[in-house]
């Protein structure tokens, strides 16, 4: 792929930078929460991983106010062109999490912290604890946390119905966090709804600055020997290339309904073309989830491919490609 169909030379390097609300990203790719552990990567890298960090922003695994041990094993398995997981938001709780921030304080990229909980107060408590810590932290003592992603869409925690499947509950969680912080707020939407724009509207009305989607599709896999539910938590969340067509549809719906809203699109991204498709459907930034499990260098490869795919189509920038699938 070294020249365009019409023979014109390729734009050697399209401008990949995008603005996710107030957050400036070097390129559109971020990791999807729960699928990429910065410190694990750093310890497996021969060079300076912090200098070579591949994503434009880092979204760590969801943090809750109290420690959670997560669901019983097994927690993951493969499905046709995808996988299912029921981790159950295992995390050490926000206090212990904050205590380790020094270990990656030197990350240059912006950080968007994924926040979980069962009730509005629990979400707000995490946001407040982090805001408080950040305000007090000495310069250079903490990573550059610039926003929060409210995970109201995890199908693997037993707080009854998902918050993100209900407009009122969504508004309450977002509203409580909006009161707690002036930082950038994303609401992460679940695909397990009839109309994703209804929940999106509730989140935006309650003060969210942008939307991330999709989280996983609630799903069931059986053990082929026993015919019992395979996962320890019985059901889990489906993701990977299998779900990409559903994710693209939902991102397009949200982008059409809320044209000026920052959107992080994700679900099944495995190649640069996949990422470009999300951008074409209106995503500002693109999350890479399960593809991280397929190779260490997946983000680098996807980014290189995205650059090529943009150039091959004559786009001068990633921003130019945004929403091109939506215009008729």
């Amino acid at each position: 792929m070294t020249e365009r169909a019409n023979g014109a030379p390729l734009d050697p390097s399209p401008d990949l930078s995008v603005s996710l609300g107030p957050i400036v990203l070097d390129h559109p790719l971020v990791d999807a929460s729960g699928t990429f552990d910065l410190l694990e990567y750093a310890r497996r890298y021969d060079g300076d991983y912090f200098a070579d960090f591949p994503y434009a922003a880092y979204v760590p695994k969801t943090v809750t106010v109290d420690a959670r041990t997560g669901n019983p094993a097994p927690r993951v398995t493969e499905t046709p062109s995808g996988m299912i997981n029921a981790i159950g938001l295992e995390n050490p709780g926000v206090r212990a999490w904050i205590a380790r921030l020094g270990e990656w304080a030197h990350l240059r990229q912006p950080v968007i912290v994924s926040v979980g909980g069962n009730e509005p107060e629990q979400y707000a408590a995490v946001v407040a604890a982090l805001d408080e810590y950040l305000d007090a932290a000495a310069p250079g003592a903490a990573p550059s946390i610039q926003g929060y992603e409210l995970n109201i869409s995890c199908p693997n925690v037993s707080s009854g119905l998902q918050i993100g499947a209900d407009r009122a509950a969504t508004a309450e969680v977002v509203g409580a966090c909006r009161e707690a912080t002036s930082r950038f707020l994303l609401a992460k939407l679940t695909p397990n709804v009839r109309d994703v724009t209804e929940i999106g509207a509730a989140a935006l009305d309650a003060g969210a600055d942008g939307l991330s989607l999709i989280n996983t599709l609630k799903a069931l896999v059986l053990d082929r020997d026993t015919l019992k539910p395979f996962l320890g938590n019985r059901t889990g969340g489906l993701c990977g290339p299998a779900v990409k067509p559903v994710a693209l549809r939902m991102v397009a719906e949200v982008a059409q309904a809320f044209p000026d809203t920052p959107i992080v699109g994700m679900g099944g991204v495995a190649t640069g073309l996949d990422a470009l498709e999300f951008i074409a459907c209106g995503a500002t930034a693109v999350g890479v989830g399960a593809a991280n499990f397929t190779a260490f260098e997946a983000p680098q490869r996807i980014l290189a491919e995205l650059r090529e795919e943009l150039a091959a189509r004559g786009f001068a920038s990633a921003a130019d490609a945004r929403g091109v699938a939506l215009s008729s």
């Binding site: 497996r44 890298y45 021969d46 695994k61 041990t69 997560g70 493969e78 190779a295 490869r301 290189a304």
Partner: protein, 262 residues
């Protein structure tokens, strides 16, 4: 179209990624020993560690965790049992085929200051014990291995092993002694201070654990868990231990026998 995988950047910074070639294949029924030219992995490897193998052909989304069966010079070997679609395709690899592996990953069997070692394996769980036996023997330890298999078919794996003192049992009595590996252990004369190394199905590990404690021995176990990343990111592979839930791919796969609750 940009094909996935064709525009990879430079891997050299990834300690644990290797594009490698199959140098030799030996088949034992449903099992295959794959010898791979993988100098970067071989250089760092220790017994008990594993690699994540990309299943060639594109039909499998996740990589498969496979133990190191052996490592010499620039080579590693894997003993693979065709159980599902992914391992089936791995056993059909041929000399010269390309494979991608990431590793060595996870914790290794401690081998220091061991003079007497007892290796207890069940089924495909025997796989990591060959490499362990090689290292222990090289360090001068006295190594005895007891392997249990279900039937004739699964006992075909035994043909892949080169351990001097190797006792085999099959549940159907078709190969070696009739019974489980516990019957082999019961018949052994074990010196005090022997270090036990176990790997196999959960009921076997539980039984070996009880036996070890009853004999006043100590030891290690390599556990299996369903994995997504294999590299510590997803928390998919946790097991319950005395230290809480730990990841088999990061804190494990090797744990102290007395800290796991199989």
């Amino acid at each position: 179209m940009t094909e996935a995988g064709h525009t990879h950047g430079d891997h050299s910074q990834w300690a644990e990624t290797s594009h490698c070639r199959v140098a030799a294949v030996r088949h034992f029924g449903a099992f295959a020993v794959l010898e791979l030219i993988a100098p970067r992995v071989a250089r760092r490897a220790a017994p008990g560690q594993f690699v994540m193998v990309t299943v060639p052909g594109g039909g499998s989304f996740l990589r498969r965790p496979i133990s190191l069966f052996a490592a010499h010079a620039d080579r590693i070997s894997l003993l693979v049992e065709a159980r599902g679609g992914g391992t089936e395709r791995l056993t059909r690899l041929d000399v010269g085929d390309a494979v991608e592996v990431a590793g060595p990953l996870g914790s290794a069997f401690p081998t220091e200051d061991v003079s007497n070692a007892l290796l207890v394996g069940g089924g495909i769980g025997c796989a990591p014990l060959q490499y362990l036996a090689d290292e222990l023997s090289a360090a001068g330890a006295h190594v005895t291995a007891c392997f249990g298999f279900r039937d004739f078919r699964s006992a075909r794996a035994a043909g892949a092993f080169t351990i001097d003192r190797l006792w085999v049992a099959t549940e159907d009595g078709s190969v070696g002694r009739a019974g489980t590996v516990l019957h082999l252990l019961a018949a052994l004369d074990v010196s005090p201070g022997t270090t036990v190394y176990a790997c196999g199905p959960t009921p076997m590990v539980a039984a070996v654990q009880r036996w070890t404690f009853a004999e006043g021995l100590h030891g290690y176990v390599s556990l299996e868990a369903h994995m997504a990343c294999g590299t510590g990111s997803c928390h998919g592979c946790v097991v319950d231990t005395a230290r809480g839930k730990l990841r088999v791919c990061a804190e494990g796969p090797v744990f102290r026998l007395d800290e796991v609750t199989p």
